[in-house]
């Protein structure tokens, strides 16, 4: 192994007593080269492995979007798996023709959505995109579109991109998008590195964005899954939108649903030309490979991709200094909790290292937040902090969940008290050393997995500089107690923050078993309780009245144990009718 002077440094770095000098920290031996089209390569050779973990980062994320195309970076990530002129179809000419036809129909559909949005603005329909309010011409166009999809499917080799990799023994193919970057990665057997070059250069050189519109439905499902079907998903999105004033971090990575409905293929192609040009991409390879062979393959495969005429636009909008504290009070099916989030600094800012150490002092089982809020005061079941320096700007969060009778307000006071103590009281040497020992150990731990090392290289490169992997530990070990106190003073003013408090939605907890059902077998109880839940969910009074009318006959037919429950069912229906007629829906 070529990890620089590792054995020699151990005695110095790992004695865990004196603060370590920056130059003693282990370095990742990264080889770099650049192609003439501007594409950059990072290589770490790990001959003990039987694989190569390989990936690339596009320096683009949702922060590069604008209103109207929010979510397109993430959508794009999905489209990159749809194949190329060679992969994914048996007849590229016919495939291209069908895609053009589809686009013409979609253009007409988007015109109808323009009208639908106007009808929505005028209050004529409740939802511009609902299936229920579709005009007949839209239904007709969608039917014609479905026919074209069927035609195209006859020519398609479904998910061939995935199949080729799978068959060859590649694994873990995936990608992710965040506010700043889009990362694609996979692990291939060490003897099949050339396959990776073939496949990745192919999808960058001749991509075909087929199944554009069915993939949109998949992304809608992803949004439902992550944002709308989790206890706090919608509020996380709202809080982010509220925290960032002017910066494009305010919209969600997955995009606003109304934008998702109207992206065009032309917009996608323009986006690709702007942000997926070779000069905006960096490849990383970690594993059992030969550097010279990798250079040769890179030149032959990725060297084919023409450079872009100009660099992609910078993100120019800076976050406005915040003038007043912002607050969000949410209610959800969740533990009462609080988050205090402060504006701080972006990736590699000189203060980011002291903020990392601050977070180290606060976090963990022996950290200040857990010790004070969970163990000593017993007002929280959990507490922690999060230092989040992104590419363009950053934030620092303190959060905690309540325990017993404590309220989010109690937690807020306790969290602020911990910040005050950092600012005003000396930080013990041993406590600071504990955090630094953990930093030293993690400088080795994070290298152990080749795949995890790959991800770190791609993420750091995407955020601004992969060399952060070798600078982070050294810079963090140089942080002094005075540095920590300085950043804890500089960034943690109430006017510089947004506060989210969450309370548990009333009635979210299930009702107790009504006395009418006592003594019944628990299975019968559960069935009846389930029926009552159903009744309470009905929104139509006539349906309920119909149910009421059928009750006597059903009671006759019901098995004996159920008989006892009928007065309760009847009462529940009546209550629901009253509730609906009074216009209040719980």
């Amino acid at each position: 192994m070529t990890y620089r002077s590792l054995p020699a440094t151990l005695g110095v770095v790992l004695t865990l007593v004196a603060p370590s000098a920056a130059q003693d920290i282990t370095q990742v031996p990264v080889e770099t080269f650049e192609l003439s089209n501007g594409m950059n390569f990072l290589v770490v050779q790990r001959p003990e492995l039987t694989t190569v973990s390989a990936g690339w980062v596009a320096h683009v994320g949702s922060a590069n979007e604008r209103p109207g195309i929010t979510g397109i970076s993430h959508f794009f990530e999905h489209m990159m798996f749809k194949g190329s002129e060679t992969i994914g179809t048996t007849n590229i000419a016919e495939d291209t023709r069908i895609i053009e036809e589809q686009e013409k129909l979609q253009e007409q559909i988007r015109e109808i959505y323009r009208t639908q949005r106007e009808r929505y603005r005028l209050g004529e329909i409740e939802d511009a995109f609902s299936d229920d309010d579709r005009p007949p011409e839209l239904i007709e166009l969608q039917a014609r579109f479905t026919e074209l999809v069927e035609q195209q499917r006859q020519l398609m080799v479904k998910d061939e991109f995935d199949k080729i990799y799978t068959e060859s023994g590649a694994s873990g193919m995936n990608a992710f998008t965040n506010n700043d970057i889009t990362v694609y990665f996979i692990t291939v057997p060490a003897n099949k590195l050339e396959l990776w070059f073939w496949m990745e250069s192919e999808r960058l050189l001749r991509p075909v964005f087929r199944e554009f519109y069915s993939e949109r439905d998949v992304v809608h499902e992803e949004r439902r899954l992550r944002t709308e079907s989790t206890p706090t998903g919608e509020f996380d999105e709202l809080f982010e939108a509220m925290f960032w004033e002017s910066h494009p971090y305010s919209w969600p990575v997955v995009g606003w649903p109304s934008d998702l409905e109207v992206y065009t293929l032309a917009q996608a192609k323009e986006y690709f030309a702007t942000y997926y040009a070779p000069g905006n991409l960096t490849v990383a390879l970690v594993g059992n490979l030969d550097l010279e062979e990798a250079k040769d393959l890179a030149e032959r495969y990725f060297g084919r991709i023409p450079p872009a005429g100009s660099a992609p636009p910078d993100v120019v909008t800076l976050e406005m200094p915040q003038a007043a504290e912002k607050r969000m009070a949410a209610s959800c099916d969740c533990q009462p909790q609080i988050e205090l989030r402060y504006h701080t600094v972006p990736f590699r800012h000189r203060d980011s290292y002291a903020l990392d150490v601050l977070s180290g002092l606060l976090n963990g089982r022996s950290g200040r937040l857990y010790k004070s809020l969970v163990l000593e005061q017993e007002i929280a079941s959990d507490a922690g902090s999060f230092q989040d320096s992104r590419k363009w700007s950053g934030s620092f969060s303190l959060s905690a969940e309540t325990k017993g009778d404590a309220t989010p307000a109690d937690l807020e006071r306790a969290l602020e008290e911990q910040l005050r103590r950092i600012r005003e009281e000396p930080i013990p040497d041993r406590e600071l050393q504990k955090v630094k020992n953990q930093i030293t150990a993690s400088s080795y731990q994070r290298l152990a997995s080749g795949f995890f090392l790959l991800l770190q290289l791609l993420i750091y490169d995407g955020m601004g500089d992969w060399e952060y992997i070798n600078e982070w530990a050294a810079n963090t070990l140089n942080v002094t107690a005075a540095d920590v106190q300085r950043v804890a003073t500089a960034y943690f003013e109430p006017t510089n923050r947004a506060v989210a408090t969450y309370s548990r939605t009333e009635g979210a907890a299930p009702t107790v078993i009504p006395s009418e059902l006592e003594g019944l077998p628990s299975e019968v109880q559960r069935q009846i309780m389930g029926q009552l839940d159903q009744i309470r969910a009905v929104d139509d009074v006539n349906t309920l009245k119909g149910m009421l009318g059928q009750l006597p006959a059903q009671r006759e037919a019901a098995p004996p144990p159920f008989q006892k429950a009928f007065p309760l069912i009847e009462r529940t229906i009546e209550e629901r009718i009253t509730q609906l007629e009074e216009g209040g829906d719980a």
Partner: protein
């Protein structure tokens, strides 16, 4: 020379027509199938070469790797929640949790946490249904100090009373959140439907159970079941095998195996599964779905059906976009973000065959219909030679990856010892996959899958799920004639 010149001219002109801007390197293959690869050199490691036995009978698997100054140790014990009294459900897990958080004979909980953090060590312990485990991650120069903490935790946990009260309070808070996430509700009711509410592998701790557990119960459970005779240890990283064995002897040899009988294997479920549709009401825009049934317990690891089932599972729903269910439900129809199937080989109790997905309420029935159609299809039509080839090749080619790190090697062989499986299982693994035919896949699909006897559980808004999609392609009347059992949301603290 002439010949080269011609090639060059042709190459240039072709490139000019097809790709006016791009640089040309036209010797690249047109299709990836044309690439030629060197052989990958890989031999399956022999578990017996890693195995050692301490003087008190504990098996230890050690895989050295000196790349980084890091050591990892994990011990696995044959014991678990099946040994708890019925009124103290959660005792095994609370014992595991409190060993790590409740201090030791010589150290208060605060001191233990502080020392562990200062050494930058990761120490944990936990109790599961049929397995307890404790692990240590440490940098080499601090190994002796780390081992000192680890074995003190293992052998003389304090179960500090005031810390126990705090932990119990925190557990109560997490119980209150049992109905918050639809996925948690889905998992809980699924276990209850398949294994009953009282089987050790499905039952959950209630507030009454929590209140009934005392410090003495934890100490007793630890004394009886955290014992060397139940234990196997996996060690990997920057250690010298002989020196490390000596350290283990030092810390464990005076701990003879004389605890209570841990009654291995754990008891089988006696619950009778009732096929049908079950729903739990939750106000979310998707239905979260599990569909499936029990499959036989897997004790014969030489049985070649294992290989045929793995190939079947790969083709049906276990391989992402290459699998049939993902292709149809996600890729063709856009009905779900994730959709697939799973066949579990469980050595201790019946396993499960499961279809899972989540879809917007109106298309739950359609996605389910498609997934079940695929189950039926794999039982009635042989898979294509291409599908068979892709699945077998993928399984065989990814096999070396399981052995990539020293930690994986030690851990795989320790798991063999825990399960009572011969290490030779791994020598036969690839040949058995390579021998699978389309007929084998058809045969095991018929033998092990029963789409007509499924439990179909959905968490979501039933009123929006039942009527099906706007184009009338499927609705919930298609399953069990529209009959459904509505399971009410349980009280999170009593689970009634």
């Amino acid at each position: 020379m002439k010949f080269s010149a011609v090639v060059l001219i042709l190459a240039c002109s072709a490139a000019t027509i097809a790709q006016p801007v791009a640089v040309t390197t036209s010797d690249l293959p047109e299709r990836p199938e044309q690439l030629v690869y060197d052989e990958l050199d890989f031999t399956v490691p022999d578990g017996n070469g890693f195995r050692h036995v301490l003087s008190n009978g504990v098996a230890v698997y050690i895989a050295e790797d000196h790349t980084f100054p890091l050591v990892s140790l994990r011990m696995t014990l044959r014991q678990g929640s099946y040994l708890e009294p019925a009124d103290k459900v959660g005792l095994a897990s609370l014992t595991g949790r409190m060993m790590r958080t409740g201090g030791t004979q010589s150290m208060t909980p605060e001191t233990f946490d502080e020392e562990t953090a200062f050494l930058a060590a990761n120490i944990s312990s936990s109790g599961g249904n049929a397995q307890a485990s404790a692990s240590l991650g440490c940098i080499t120069p601090q190994l002796d100090a780390c081992l000192g903490l680890f074995f003190e935790m293992l052998r003389t946990p304090r179960f500090d009373e005031s810390r126990l009260q705090i932990e119990k309070g925190n557990i109560l808070e997490s119980m209150r959140q049992r109905n918050d996430d639809a996925g948690d509700i889905l998992g809980r009711e699924w276990d209850f439907l398949l294994r009953g509410e009282d089987h050790y592998s499905s039952r959950r701790m209630t507030e009454a159970n929590l209140n009934a557990i005392s410090r003495a119960d934890l100490a007793d459970f630890h004394e009886k079941y955290w014992r060397p005779e139940n234990m196997v240890i996996a060690v990997s990283g920057d250690v010298d095998t002989n020196a490390f064995l000596a350290k283990l002897e030092e810390n464990l040899a005076d701990w003879p195996g004389e605890g209570a009988d841990a009654k291995w294997p754990p008891p089988q479920p006696t619950h009778t599964v009732k096929p049908g549709v079950y729903s739990v009401e939750k106000d979310i825009p998707q239905g979260k779905v599990l569909i499936g049934h029990l499959v036989p317990q897997w004790t014969d690891w030489d049985n070649p059906d294992r290989a045929a089932l793995q190939v079947m599972q790969h083709i049906l729903g276990g391989s992402g976009f290459t699998s049939r269910i993902m292709k149809r439900v996600r890729s063709d129809e856009g009905l779900a973000y994730s959709a697939g199937s799973r066949f579990s080989f469980d050595a201790l109790e019946p396993g499960t065959f499961t279809l899972s997905f989540q879809s917007k309420s109106p298309t739950v029935a359609l996605a389910a219909k498609i997934a079940i159609e695929e189950v039926t299809r794999i039982q009635t039509e042989p898979v294509t030679p291409e599908e068979l080839g892709v699945a077998k090749s993928a399984l065989v080619e990814t096999f070396p990856r399981r052995w990539e790190s020293a930690r994986q090697r030690a851990s795989i062989f320790a798991t063999d010892a825990y399960l009572g499986r011969s290490h030779s299982y791994w020598q036969n693994w690839r040949p058995q996959i390579e021998a699978v035919t389309a007929n084998d896949v058809l045969r095991v699909a018929k033998k092990y899958l029963s789409p007509e006897e499924i439990v179909f559980l959905v968490v979501g808004k039933w009123d929006e799920i039942a009527p099906g999609d706007a184009d009338d392609r499927a609705n919930m009347m298609e399953f069990f004639g529209g009959e459904v059992t509505h399971i009410p949301l349980r009280d999170p603290l009593t689970l009634k």
